[in-house]
Every structure is written in structure tokens, then in C-alpha cells.
């Protein structure tokens, strides 16, 4: 048994806010305080240290075809950041689009123990799982993308029964070994294939005549009925378009009280005021989030520097391609499923739009009062690479630092933003909520993201440093399932994470029309799309952690 004694524990799921306590670990789990005659094999004194659960990133593009396209597109990203092999670790490279191994090591070195890929195309699920299997150290999971796929849109257009839609969604989750359902630009990716350049929430799709609102409602209902823990993960319409805040608010309302998660909401909080017709609507969006308790969101914070934007939203990525820096880009069709767009991007602090995007993200963080419903993300790599999380945490926790950065950005953008008037500083407890407890709860990971008895021993120990960036960049110890994997911000033990997937109940009768559909229209047979439980481990995950779903009556 391992005893971690005298650490200052931040465990929001169990309401522990900075109390000095001992933790006991046995068999990869946290156990209750044992009796006096328990054998302690190892003891680490953590006096003065901050102890939290392993961090969980619930929205980070670490797998799926688009990252490989980004890697192929950006040899300079790899050349500029080589990582030699050492201590049992693979060599790797890459800043914005790091190699799989480097992704895993860097996440672990920051105290992350689970990462969720939010955009797995069901047709591309095998690739995604193979790629995630190559990412060591952390647990993984993926959200299957629906909403612009032909089969679903046909069903919706023909007025199919919600129960049939539920079966199709259940089948997709099951066949692609997914953790949740994501919808990207609802119906819009498909509309782009019919030569449409934008599709607002109540605009009818040019071919199927269904609206994004109907898509969101049908999918949110299906996810809810199937009993999937994580609500429908929505990348709303009109990403990045000035004035899109109205669409975002309409999307929240479209859920009609059902749980819904709006992702990278920073990119969806823009107004059209001012000379440049681009302004912050963070206040209005944050007010709505504060009011609507069925809505959660992650921010997708922009931080300055070179990165690459990867998205299934081929419609908006096509619109952005003229901003590509360096000037090269890829937009492609994923047969009947969806699309994909990869556009390299450099966010500049002296650029009005980029600087305002930065301020809008921070405003959202500071204005949304409930840290259980707003998560810490940069939408890696779209707003910034995940390695900038410690910097982001410092911006949230340190007002003086934030204001000093505000002085450096484009002066006009700084003047337009109300960021300076926001005095809030996040506490360690709130950071622990938004990066651990809340994502675990949102995803239904009952034994992760907390430090109570029975939880998996994913534990991170930080030195308490006033410079929060330095503190969160280099944890002193990271334990994964009870094993010490990182010491002083360096990997000391390479482990392999598990794969989380939900196992909903649905009527297998959906396979009959689906098989006919696949035989007629797709390049792959339905039977070959499905990934079995056994295959997940041959893909590289250490094990499959199934999550049963308690279905609700449709």
C-alpha cells in the first residue's frame, strides 16, 4: 500500500477544498484510510504540495484522419520541434500536430490522465482507434460524429420515428466504440456538398429540407433516451462568423431543456458591432449559460502563436482557407458521412480579430459562474496546442498577469473588451472542478476525476508556486492507476491507457436497413465498419472500459 501523506487535497467531487489529508493507494485504486496494522510499503511526504485527481481533457483533437492530414501538411511543424527517443520513450516531433507518442507523453507531463477525441467519423473509426491506441500514458475515448450523414438526414427528412433514430444513434455508438455523440455544423457539412456556404439554425437544407434545429433536437433526444452520460456535444452552426451569437443562443434553446454541451463556445460568441463589424458577445452568451442549467460548454480558448485548425466543418474551413498561414490547406469529403478541413493558422496578438478572440475566450471563462458547466480547453489544436494549458490557467488565476497580457495585445481590441473590468481570479478548487471533477461527471466517469475511496488512483501532485504556469506545467508526481508515471514534469514510466466507450441498448433491427444502405451507397460493408470489443485492444488500448447506459423510455 502506498501512502501519500500531508498533501493539500483539492477534490471537488467530494467537496474537499484544500484540506490536508493522507491518501492511500492499493491495487491501482484509492482506498479508505486503513486500520493501524495495515502494511505501508511506500510513503511519500507531500507537505506543502497541492494534490488533485488526474486532469481530463474532454475536447482535444488527438486522433482521427484530420490529424494525419495536418501532419502531412506541415512538415515544418515537425522539423521545428524534434523530440529524441529517451528512457523507453519513442522519438517524436511536432508542436501544433504532434506525433501520437509525443501527444501522450506531453499530456502526462502536465498531469493529464484522460483525453477525449471529439470528432471521430464513424466510417473512420478504425483509424481513430488505431491512432489513439498509439497514444501512450492517458486513457482515451472518442465521440462519434453524426448529423451531416446521409442515412440520418434521409431518416429525418422522411419523418422517421424518434425510436428508429435512437436505434441508429445507438448502433453508431456501439459500432464505432464511441463515448458520446457529436454534431458538427448540424446538417451544414452536408449542405456544403450541395454548394451552400452557410446554413443557419432555421434554414432548410437545400436537398433534405430539414433544418439544423431539427438535427440538434433529434440527436439530443436520442442521446438522452439512450441514457448516454455525456449530453449531445454540439459544434454549432456559423463557427467564427461575426454575429453568430444569435445562432448560438438559438442552438441552446433548440435543446428545449434537454442536456446539451456547446463546444469551443468562444468561436460562437461574436457580434457585429463596431467599425470592423466584429465584437464580443461573451456577456450575452455567458448570461445564457448562467441561466440555462441544461447547457454546459467548453471554451476553445485562443492563445497566440502558430497552430493548425482541424475540423469536420468543411463548410467553415473552406470559408477560412484564405486566412491559411502558411498558405496551404485541405478540405475534403468523407463519403456519405461528413467532411474534413485542415487550415494552418497563426493567431497574432497585434491582430484586432485574433486579439479580440483571445479576450472573448477569457471573458467567457470569467463570466460563467458555475465551473461545473464550463471546461478548460483550447480545442487543441484549433485555438492553441494543448501544451499551452498551464499558461491559460495562469491567465485565469492571476489578474495582474492577465492585465499585463491585455496591455500587449492589439490596443483597439483591448479597448473593445470588458476583460479589464473583470476581477475574478479562479481558485485552485475551481480549476480542479473545470479540469477534473466536472468533465468526469459530464462524461459519466464515476471512478475518475476524484480522490474518494474506490476511485482509480490517477493522482497529480504539484508544488505550490505563485507562478501558476510553472506550477501546472511541471507536476512533481503523476500517478496513473497507482503507478508513478511522471516525476518533476518528466515521464519516468511509460504506460498504456484504456479506452472508454459507452454500451447503449438499442434494437439491432436497425441493421437491416443499414446493411442495405451500406451495400448500395458506401465503399465499405456494414460488417466491416463495426469494431468489436476485442479489436480495441489489438488497436493498442490497454483495455476497454465499457460504460453501461441506463436507457430512458422514448
Amino acid at each position: 500500500m502506498l501512502r501519500l501523506k500531508n498533501g493539500r487535497i483539492y477534490d471537488p467531487a467530494n467537496g474537499i477544498d484544500g484540506e490536508v489529508r493522507d491518501l492511500y493507494v492499493e491495487g491501482g485504486r484509492i482506498v479508505a484510510t486503513p486500520g493501524p496494522d495495515a502494511r505501508i510499503d511506500r510513503e511519500i511526504d507531500l507537505a506543502g504540495r497541492v494534490v488533485m485527481g488526474g486532469a481530463i481533457d474532454l475536447h482535444t483533437h488527438i486522433g482521427g484522419g484530420k490529424m494525419n492530414i495536418a501532419r502531412a501538411l506541415l512538415p515544418e511543424d515537425h522539423r521545428a520541434d524534434p523530440v529524441p527517443a529517451m528512457g523507453g520513450m519513442h522519438a517524436g516531433c511536432g508542436h501544433a500536430a504532434p506525433s501520437t507518442w509525443t501527444t501522450g507523453y506531453r499530456y502526462a507531463e502536465m498531469g493529464y490522465t484522460a483525453c477525449f477525441e471529439p470528432a471521430m467519423q464513424p466510417i473512420n473509426a478504425r483509424h481513430t482507434h488505431l491512432e489513439m491506441g498509439d497514444i501512450p500514458m492517458v486513457d482515451k475515448g472518442a465521440y462519434a460524429m453524426l448529423g451531416s450523414d446521409d442515412f440520418f438526414l434521409r431518416m429525418l427528412a422522411s419523418g422517421a420515428d424518434q425510436r428508429l433514430i435512437n436505434d441508429y444513434v445507438g448502433w453508431t455508438l456501439d459500432a464505432s466504440q464511441a463515448m458520446a455523440i457529436k454534431v458538427v455544423n448540424p446538417g451544414g457539412i452536408s449542405a456544403f456538398k450541395f454548394n451552400t456556404r452557410s446554413l443557419d439554425i432555421d434554414e432548410a437544407h437545400p436537398h433534405y429540407r430539414v433544418t439544423p434545429r431539427q438535427v440538434v433536437q433529434a440527436l439530443a433526444r436520442a442521446v438522452h433516451d439512450l441514457g448516454v452520460a455525456h449530453p449531445l456535444h454540439v459544434h454549432a452552426s456559423n463557427l467564427g462568423v461575426p454575429g453568430n451569437a444569435d445562432t448560438t443562443l438559438a442552438t441552446m434553446a433548440a435543446a428545449e431543456g434537454l442536456p446539451i454541451h456547446l463546444t469551443h463556445i468562444q468561436f460562437h460568441s461574436y457580434g457585429t458591432e463596431g467599425e470592423r463589424k466584429f465584437s464580443s458577445e461573451a456577456e450575452r452568451i455567458a448570461d445564457a449559460l448562467n441561466r440555462m442549467t441544461n447547457v454546459s460548454s467548453d471554451v476553445g480558448q485562443v492563445l497566440f502563436g502558430q497552430t493548425v485548425t482541424v475540423s469536420g466543418d468543411s463548410m467553415k474551413q473552406y470559408g477560412n482557407h484564405r486566412h491559411a498561414s502558411p498558405d496551404k490547406w485541405v478540405v475534403m469529403d468523407i463519403e456519405c458521412d461528413s467532411g474534413c478541413g485542415v487550415v494552418p493558422f497563426k493567431y497574432r496578438d497585434k491582430n484586432f480579430v485574433n486579439a479580440l478572440q483571445w479576450a472573448i475566450g477569457l471573458e467567457l471563462f470569467l463570466r460563467v459562474r458555475d465551473p461545473w458547466r464550463i471546461f478548460l480547453t483550447t480545442d487543441h489544436p484549433n485555438g492553441a496546442p494543448f501544451t499551452s494549458y498551464p499558461h491559460l490557467i495562469r491567465l485565469l488565476m492571476d489578474k495582474r498577469f492577465r492585465n499585463s497580457k491585455l496591455d500587449e495585445i492589439n490596443a483597439e481590441a483591448a479597448a473593445h473588451s470588458q476583460l479589464r473590468s473583470l476581477d475574478r481570479e479562479y481558485t485552485l478548487y475551481e480549476i480542479a472542478i473545470m479540469s477534473r471533477a466536472a468533465p468526469a461527471r459530464s462524461l459519466g466517469l464515476t471512478d475518475r476525476g476524484h480522490l474518494g475511496a474506490g476511485a482509480a488512483a490517477d493522482i497529480v501532485v504539484y508544488r505550490d508556486d505563485a507562478d501558476r504556469e510553472a506550477m501546472f506545467a511541471k507536476p512533481e508526481y503523476v500517478f496513473k492507476d497507482g503507478q508513478l508515471i511522471v516525476r518533476d514534469g518528466k515521464v519516468v514510466n511509460v504506460v498504456n491507457g484504456a479506452l472508454h466507450a459507452v454500451k447503449p441498448e438499442y434494437d439491432k433491427g436497425i441493421e437491416k436497413p443499414l446493411k442495405e444502405y451500406f451495400d448500395r451507397y458506401m465503399t465499405v460493408r456494414m460488417e466491416n465498419v463495426r469494431l468489436s470489443d476485442d479489436e480495441i485492444c489489438t488497436c493498442g488500448a490497454s483495455k476497454l472500459i465499457p460504460h453501461t447506459c441506463k436507457g430512458r423510455k422514448a
Partner: protein
């Protein structure tokens, strides 16, 4: 400055990235010996492989009998580097200034993505000399490469600017996909010279056995710039070009816009 003498043949490829006149200048001998290089992907110190001898010259000299030292002069910006012996692969990659003198052969991919400076190769060079860095869309973008010996295939592939001079013979597809710049090969070349050439000049000292069919014979022309080029090259590779301004001109590659030319001096 310093002489590095390779003690024995290393049992793998050595990545010499960072061993440059500009990074070693002004440092103490023991300090230089502690500089990290990679042998077969694993880090070790420079003095594990080399004897480090300080001297009064302003030049970094690397003495080697082995062709396993890769990335020599990679990214070099200034100063002088001499290789007494063969260079491995990727010498002078992405070099932007200074002078490198290789007193032996060079491996594959030398001067890839070079942007400035002078690279001399006294022996032969491998494939892809002056081509693009792996994954990049354009090759060498500036500077001068002068080769005494022969070069391999794909010489100057997708080269964008700069000057490459070869006294010996080039392999297949020299000047392929050339975007711009000037490529001179005095000693003849293999098949498909200038295939996919967009702009720029490929100057051949000997008539090739065949040209791609998408080049158009434009007859014998008198180009005064050949006189200027002759004067310029005399200081780099004396006797490389005949003192003539006459050449046979073939416009092409017509499948790729046809704005380039192959000039045959013989």
C-alpha cells in the same frame, strides 16, 4: 577555431545538428566537448566520438574517414566550416549563409532547402542535391553550390532560386520540376533532364542522349548573359563553361507552362 577529429568509425549514423562555427565560436574546449550529438538516435557528448583541438584559425574543421556524419552544417548562418573527408547525408540543409567546403563526397539530400551561402563539394554528391526539404513544396531558394565531381539523380528538384554548378555528370531527371534558378551541368546527364521544368535555366555542357518530348527546339541562340555567367563561374569552378555566348535552346517543359529552357552549349 577548432578541429574535431573523428576517432573511429561510429557504429551508426551520427546526427551532427548544432555543430556549427557560429555555435562553437568563443567556447572553451571542454565545453565544446560536452555538446550533445545523437548516435543512432541516442544522445552522447561530442568528445565521446571526436578529439577536440583548439586552434587559431577562424574555421571549424571536421576530420573524418567515415561517411556517417549526417546534417553537417545544417542551418548554418555564418562562418566557415571545412570537412576533411566525406560528408554523410543532408549536409548544408537549410543553410542560410557562410561557407562550407567538403573535401570529399557528400551523401544524399545535400543543400536541401538551402537559402544562402556557398557550398563546395570537391568529390561527388548523392541524389536530391539542392532539392526541397522533406515534405516541402520548393527546393533550394538561394546561395551557390559548386561540385567538382558527379552528382546523383534529381539534382535541383523543385529548386526556386540560386545557382548550382556541376563539373561532372548528373544522374537522371536533373532540374526536374525546377521552379526558377540556374543549374549548370558540364559533364553530361542521364535521362529526362528538366522534366516538369517550369521556369529557370538548365545549362548542359554536353548534349543529352534524349530530351523529354515536351521540349521545343528553338534553334541556336546568342545569349549575352552566358558571357556574364561564364565570368561569374570562373571564380567558383574555373574552366567549367566555355567562353561562348552561343547555345542550342529548348523551351519547356511545355506540359508545365513552357517558360523554362534547356541550353546546350556543345
Amino acid at each position: 577555431m577548432t578541429t574535431l577529429t573523428l576517432r573511429s568509425v561510429p557504429n551508426g549514423r551520427v546526427d551532427m545538428t548544432g555543430i556549427l562555427p557560429e555555435t562553437l565560436a568563443g567556447r572553451r574546449t571542454e565545453d565544446i566537448g560536452k555538446q550533445i550529438v545523437h548516435l543512432a538516435g541516442s544522445p552522447l557528448m561530442l568528445d565521446d566520438l571526436f578529439d577536440v583541438t583548439p586552434d587559431e584559425t577562424g574555421m571549424l574543421v571536421i576530420r573524418t574517414d567515415s561517411d556517417r556524419l549526417d546534417y553537417l552544417g545544417q542551418g548554418m548562418r555564418t562562418g566557415k566550416l571545412r570537412i576533411d573527408g566525406p560528408a554523410g547525408h543532408y549536409a548544408a540543409q537549410a543553410m542560410t549563409g557562410g561557407e562550407i567546403d567538403i573535401r570529399g563526397d557528400a551523401g544524399e539530400g545535400a543543400a536541401n532547402g538551402m537559402k544562402g551561402g556557398l557550398l563546395r563539394i570537391r568529390g561527388n554528391a548523392g541524389d536530391w542535391l539542392g532539392a526541397a526539404l522533406i515534405g516541402d513544396r520548393a527546393g533550394m531558394a538561394g546561395g551557390v553550390v559548386a561540385v567538382e565531381g558527379d552528382v546523383g539523380d534529381r539534382l535541383g528538384d523543385r529548386m526556386r532560386r540560386g545557382l548550382i554548378l556541376v563539373r561532372g555528370r548528373a544522374g537522371d531527371a536533373c532540374g526536374a520540376r525546377l521552379l526558377a534558378g540556374t543549374l549548370v551541368v558540364a559533364g553530361g546527364c542521364g535521362s529526362q533532364p528538366g522534366s516538369g521544368l517550369r521556369r529557370g535555366s538548365l545549362i548542359l555542357g554536353r548534349r543529352p542522349e534524349s530530351l523529354p518530348s515536351s521540349f521545343n527546339d528553338s534553334g541556336r541562340v546568342d545569349l549575352s548573359y552566358l558571357g556574364l555567367l561564364h565570368r561569374h563561374t570562373e571564380s567558383l569552378l574555373p574552366g567549367l563553361l566555355p567562353a561562348t555566348t552561343h547555345a542550342y535552346r529548348y523551351m519547356g517543359d511545355l506540359a508545365f507552362g513552357g517558360k523554362g529552357e534547356i541550353l546546350v552549349l556543345a
